[in-house]
């Protein structure tokens, strides 16, 4: 070739297509931009007129745009359109430029003969020039042709053989001839371009032979960008037990294959559509599709349709609120329009809807629907009184839940709790008991309900019946015993409790109940001047005394004290004095003895004035003998008595204890004693101000004591209040540093807790919270309301109080004003939220809670916390 003249070269450069470079011409620049943005059609339309003016310059650009357009069409599945573009391209481009595109088109169109014709010469003749991935792709084309490969081309013999072997192996797998399949792929070497097909076949064989480990291993070895690599995905999914599928849905052909593997090929497409609807967040469409496509849907049978039916209905419990409401409405419509696929569907829908709305029920409606469900159960499955009894028990439990607060009550709260539907609950529980007299859970729930409703006569009658029917049930015997004692049927009550004790000698609740009952009975005997009977009872219960001084019911000193006081007030005063002296000597300190004596005196002689010799003596020793150890015991006694049923007024006792506590702060004490007292006091706001003296004293001795600095931080009244969250964090961090330096793990843990609480920086509770109140018509308002949360306001208020102390009057007024003028919709929303937050009564849990529980086995003699409704006297 001769060298070009510089001027000609310049001209040529001017004319050269600017396919990649940036042109100076605005039109060309515009085309370049369009091509770069992959806007092929637009680029093509703009190049065409230019091409007419200067073909040599613009033809390459036109070809590029058309090739891009054809590829885009192929990607969208528009094969015939792409074919038209290709036909046009053949008129303007050289065949070499279109090879790749033609191959892609053949692949998309399923023209495997063309694919083979293209691929075979490349892989057979030029394999050394191809990369491994390119070889795999060409090999895939040969296999997917599923036709014999001509072996006449040079180097094509082994390719034809190996392709045929893969075909034979796949055929053998589909016929369950697994040995034959393995035999067929055996000759394929590790260096062959078909080795990923060999692995695929081996994986399939292992999969169908249930050798999960091998199957996983073979499939995992296949390169993911090959056809077998993609084809093994559904198999891998089947193998991954319990692993949820990825966020990306399977394509239809994969779902169809899974359905074939399951032996239910007919369900494949429907399953794909249902899956698609579910993943698109449209459970209603999912249900509609399945209902329309499967005659037996929904089903309770133990088959795949049954499992899918269960999913479709149970997903209601897990959907987000808005979605589940829409879905529930659709199901409800099906019921109301009698459009359900027979009674079974109605029964299944009724069950889930009733369970769904148990947390916020409309009582009469819920009861009616639940009874409708039970009627359908009886009609479809025959009578089952046990099941019906459990169902009515659940209904009673739901209806006996506390009614939600609908605003401010005009009247003070009554002693009777407001229940959702007490009459309905009693009716349902009575029906439950009637249907299955052995349903202990329903009996116990009914007894508790009678108690709540103060219907004592019915409760007692029921308990009597229960003690006959469940004669060997500890829980029933304890409950009945306590209620008998309460109504002064001492002999009967004691008998029940002793029977319970025989059943379980390790349960500390029973001796406690017996001691309580005995003291109560003795007091009644003393009052009726039957001192000997009273002493006999007291003698009997003395066998339950324990050596631990901190058991304020069964310890020797407290039992002596009780007996002494009873003798003093109602029996032989001399004997009483002697017993009191004995109790005093056995007590852990004079102050605890005096405080308990004062409380018991108020209990046994309710009309007596609040101050007595015990009080006077306690006040006397407070000034001279107060000490931190005894102060701790006083607090424990008060905590024990405060929560017991029938406790006398304790104001005077609390006042005495506080004085004693303050006085003990002025006496010598160790840091450890103060720490123990702090742990006892700080959870109770009643005593927390009195602990300030101890903190001051400790910090005077050691001003960097991290634990006491933490106490001071937690109760700002002990020191200077901290202004903001940042300061709080700094303060806590400095305490933490000191605690770490001293290796004080106890304090480190506590500071960590405080720091984690601080991570939620409290917002200004008022800023922006009430903006846009008037835009109630705005469509977006509902969306905004989803995020709007008045609970946040409360939380923020609490956090602010923790940091800044109680709200000042100005802020309080502002807060109250906001509360009053809160939009009605938002108030309703708050109520709804409260209801949603109410813990659901799981029927199983309810059943279990009302069932006799396996006795917890605390250490013998350990005081037990009084259970609600359990009688505790002194």
């Amino acid at each position: 070739m001769g060298r070009m003249h510089p001027m000609d070269a310049k001209k040529q450069n001017q004319k050269a297509p600017a396919a990649t470079g940036v042109s100076d011409l605005p039109q060309e620049r515009r085309i370049q931009e369009l091509l770069a943005q992959r806007r092929w059609r637009k680029a093509r339309d703009e190049i065409k007129p230019l091409c007419k003016t200067d073909r040599a310059r613009y033809l390459p650009l036109l070809i590029t745009a058309n090739i891009g357009l054809a590829r885009e069409m192929l990607a969208k599945g528009l094969v015939s359109d792409a074919r038209q573009v290709l036909a046009y391209l053949r008129t303007i481009a050289k065949p070499d430029q279109l090879k790749v595109l033609e191959l892609e088109l053949a692949g998309k169109a399923g023209d495997y003969a063309a694919l083979v014709a293209h691929s075979l010469p490349q892989i057979a003749g030029e394999s050394h020039k191809l990369s491994e991935v390119e070889q795999w792709k060409l090999a895939d084309r040969l296999v997917l042709s599923f036709q014999p490969i001509p072996d006449s081309a040079p180097g094509a013999v082994h390719l034809a053989k190996e392709t045929a072997a893969i075909h034979r192996a796949l055929e053998a797998v589909s016929l369950s001839q697994f040995d034959g399949a393995l035999e067929a792929v055996q000759p394929i070497s590790q260096s062959s371009c078909f080795r990923h097909w060999k692995l695929f076949v081996k994986g399939l064989v292992a999969f169908h032979r249930n050798d999960r480990v091998k199957a996983r291993r073979f499939f995992a070895e296949i390169a993911s960008d090959t056809t077998p690599g993609r084809a093994c995905q559904p198999y891998m999914y089947w193998l991954h037990d319990g692993t949820p599928p990825g966020s990306q849905a399977f394509p239809e052909h994969a779902v169809v294959l899974l359905a074939n593997l399951a032996g239910e090929p007919g369900i494949g497409r429907l399953l794909y559509l249902a899956e698609f609807a579910w993943r698109n967040g449209d459970p209603r469409e999912m249900y509609r599709l399945l209902r329309k496509g499967i005659e037996a849907f929904p089903s309770e049978k133990l088959d795949s349709i049954g499992a899918i039916s269960e999913f479709c209905l149970h997903c209601l419990f897990t959907l987000p609120a808005k979605m589940h409401m829409q879905y529930a409405e659709m199901l409800h419509d099906l019921l109301e329009r009698r459009a359900s696929n027979g009674s079974r569907e109605a029964q299944m829908i009724l069950r889930v809807l009733c369970l769904l709305f148990q947390s916020d029920p409309n009582p009469p409606y819920l009861a009616a629907q639940w009874e409708r469900f039970l009627l359908l159960c009886e009609r479809l499955d025959g009578p089952n009184p046990q099941r019906a009894s459990l169902a009515y028990g659940w209904l009673g439990e739901v209806l006996a839940a506390p009614a939600r607060e609908d605003g401010y009550d005009m009247f003070p709260p009554s002693a009777r709790p407001r229940l959702l539907d007490s009459a309905g609950a009693v009716r349902a529980l009575c029906k439950s008991v009637e249907l299955d007299p052995d349903n202990l859970g329903a009996h116990l729930r009914l007894a508790t309900l009678y108690e709540q409703l103060q219907r004592k006569r019915e409760r007692n009658r029921l308990l009597d019946a229960m003690t006959r029917r469940f004669a060997d049930n500890k829980q029933v015997l304890i409950l009945a015993g306590e209620r008998c004692i309460e109504r002064k049927a001492f002999s009967k009550g004691t008998e029940y409790l002793e029977r319970a004790l025989e059943l379980d000698r390790m349960d500390p609740a029973i001796p406690e109940a017996l001691v309580t009952a005995g003291i109560h009975q003795a007091r009644e005997f003393f009052k009726r001047s039957r001192a000997d009977d009273a002493r006999r009872v007291l003698d009997r219960i003395s066998s339950f005394a324990v050596d631990r001084a901190d058991h304020y019911l069964r310890s020797r000193w407290t039992m002596l004290l009780r007996r002494g006081l009873l003798e003093l007030f109602f029996g032989d005063s001399t004997q009483g004095q002697a017993l009191l002296a004995e109790a005093r000597a056995a007590s852990p300190g004079i102050a605890p003895y005096l405080l308990l004596a004062h409380i018991l005196r108020r209990l046994y002689t309710p009309g007596a004035p609040p101050f007595d010799p015990f009080t006077q003596e306690l006040e006397g020793i407070t000034k001279t003998q107060a000490d931190i150890e005894q102060a701790g015991i006083l607090l424990r006694i008060l905590a024990f008595i405060e929560h017991r049923r029938g406790a006398p007024p304790l104001n005077a006792a609390f006042s005495l204890a506080r004085k004693f506590l303050r006085a003990s702060a002025r006496r010598p004490f160790t840091r450890d004693q103060a720490r123990q007292l702090g742990e006892l006091i700080l959870p109770h706001s009643r005593f927390s101000p009195d602990f300030g003296e101890f903190i001051k004293a400790i910090l005077k001795r050691d001003r960097k004591d991290p634990l006491f600095l933490l106490y001071q931080y937690q109760h700002p009244s002990y020191g200077a209040p901290i202004e903001d969250a940042e300061q709080c964090r700094k303060k806590l961090q400095s305490i933490m540093q000191e605690a770490v330096r001293r290796k004080d793990d106890y304090t480190i843990t506590r500071v960590q807790k405080e720091l984690s609480r601080l991570k939620m920086t409290p917002p200004d509770p008022f800023d922006g919270m009430f903006d846009g109140e008037d835009d109630e018509e705005d469509d977006e308002e509902d969306e905004d309301e989803e995020d709007f949360d008045f609970e946040d306001l409360k939380l923020a208020e609490e956090l602010l109080q923790n940091i800044f102390g109680p709200m000042n009057d100005r802020i309080r007024k502002r807060y109250d004003d906001r509360e009053e003028y809160r939009p009605r919709k938002a108030r309703q929303k708050k109520r709804r939220k409260k209801v949603n937050q109410r813990p659901e009564i799981s029927p199983q849990a309810a059943e279990q809670s009302s069932q006799p529980q396996p006795a917890s086995q605390p250490e013998r003699g350990t005081p037990t916390k009084p259970k609600p409704g359990q009688l505790k006297l002194f």
């Binding site: 692949g107 998309k108 399923g110 895939d140 296999v143 997917l144 797998v173 589909s174 016929l175 369950s176 399939l204 169908h208 056809t227 993609r230 084809a231 999914y237 089947w238 319990g242 949820p244 599928p245 399977f250 394509p251 052909h253 994969a254 779902v255 169809v256 294959l257 899974l258 359905a259 074939n260 593997l261 399951a262 032996g263 090929p265 399953l271 794909y272 249902a274 899956e275 579910w278 399945l290 133990l302 795949s304 049954g306 499992a307 899918i308 269960e310 999913f311 149970h314 897990t318 069950r351 369970l355 046990q386 099941r387 459990l390 169902a391 659940w394 799981s842 029927p843 199983q844 059943e847």
Partner: protein, 101 residues
């Protein structure tokens, strides 16, 4: 998953049959050999061990048998038994479609 399916029994099985199936399943999957399966079997047995439990399960069961309809379907068949090989025409069609994706 459905406890009847986990234990491989029919819903009309009695206490004895359920107990037998449970013991057999536990023998195959002990806490040492297959703790996951053992836990699943034990949970399934607790749900249906006697008539009362079965009634409670029938009335109040809320378990989701899978994460999606397809997952439910596959999990059901996983428990049910070995998958069947797909017919050749289905395989052919499936693999060709895989090559296009």
């Amino acid at each position: 998953m459905n406890p009847y399916l986990v234990l491989g029994i029919t819903p009309d099985a009695g206490d004895q049959a359920i107990r037998r199936a449970y013991l057999e399943a536990v023998k195959e999957a002990s806490p040492d050999t297959d703790p996951v399966r053992f836990r699943a079997v034990s949970e399934a047995y607790e749900k249906i061990k006697d008539e009362r439990s079965r009634n409670l399960y029938a009335l109040f069961n809320r378990d989701l048998p899978g994460d999606s309809p397809l997952d439910t379907f596959v999990q059901f068949h996983r428990l049910k038994g070995s998958p069947r090989p797909a017919p050749m025409n289905v395989m052919k069609d499936f693999m060709r479609k895989c090559s296009k994706t």
